[in-house]
Symmetry: C2
Subunit: 154 residues, 2 copies
DNA sequence: CCAACATAGTTGATGTGTCACCTATTCCGG
DNA sequence: CCGGAATAGGTGACACATCAACTATGTTGG
């Protein structure tokens, strides 16, 4: 399955399917989410993390790790979200360098009203077609891939 | 597998794995490609299409469809690539509105020297871990998903 | 022939992501 | 304690992506 420098026909086919789905799916989800709620997919991801966190607040680095984002990206995105009133930054008493990000009322309201529709949409697009068998195999395969892809330190 | 508005635990797990891989993988590939060749992943995709095309030239819309990109995105990206000398635009005799995009010498050189390493990297990251069984199931599942995701007209 | 409409492609504004670099604090060995 | 290394986070520049609007050419029905 892995000899020579090239992708064989079968591999190419799978790879192109992967590319098509992994770029097309977020595009669709993002468009729908944006239209219905004014949130982008990244907005949504941030809000999910915060809403699951203790006291609806997290340290920036913790958030970045949970999302698999770089610090820089995280910081930029938080700035934009703060401008729209979805989150706010707060000082960290323990560590003078650090900062907390917390969900605002608007932020909580936004995620709670957006989540059900989004979940349904994900299910319709992604899960509807999968057989139980495919489901399991995908999970196994993706877990392995996740291991290879993890160390996104920067 | 698809009742209620929410994702159950198993679905959530699979979905998060999917997200992690489908965002982490291109990030890694892009970084490596960029460092070794100065090409971005989108650059690479455009160059692959052109290099496979008759006479190394395509109509803009055809290219956009082949890539699954919007016209606008395509146009913007071609502008950037033209600025760097990787492609060039040419008038279309048949249709005064239209335009061809063609590979330049530099573009051909770039894709030919970048492709083998990139292919190997894709293989190392994506294919190495997959068993034959997983490979087949992924292909089947992704084909179905591709169908749902296809109509990206805009 | 021409008016209405459709199509090919571009543009500008703005949101998103990455890289390189910077500041301010904290940590740690001597 | 103090000086250097590590860490938390932010900034600016620029590439990438999306949306809405626009220009110009082609197509079609009356």
């Amino acid at each position: 399955m892995t000899e020579g420098p090239w992708l064989d026909e079968e591999q190419q086919r799978l790879w192109r399917s992967w590319l098509a789905v992994s770029s097309g799916l977020p595009t669709l989800l993002n468009r729908e989410l944006q239209q219905k709620t004014g949130l982008s997919l990244p907005d949504f991801d941030v809000l999910v993390q915060l809403s699951e966190a203790q006291d609806s607040r997290m340290r920036v680095t913790t958030l970045a790790q949970a999302l698999g984002w770089e610090k820089s990206r995280t910081s930029h995105h938080l700035t934009r979200m703060a401008r729209r009133g979805l989150i706010q930054r707060a000082e960290c008493a323990d560590d003078g360098r650090g900062a907390f990000v917390e969900l605002t009322q608007d932020g909580r309201q936004a995620i709670e009203s957006a989540a059900p529709d989004h979940a349904r949409h994900v299910r319709d697009l992604f899960f509807t077609d999968l057989t139980v068998d495919e489901f399991d195999v995908m999970q196994r395969a993706l877990s392995k891939l996740q291991g290879r892809v993890r160390p996104p330190a920067a």
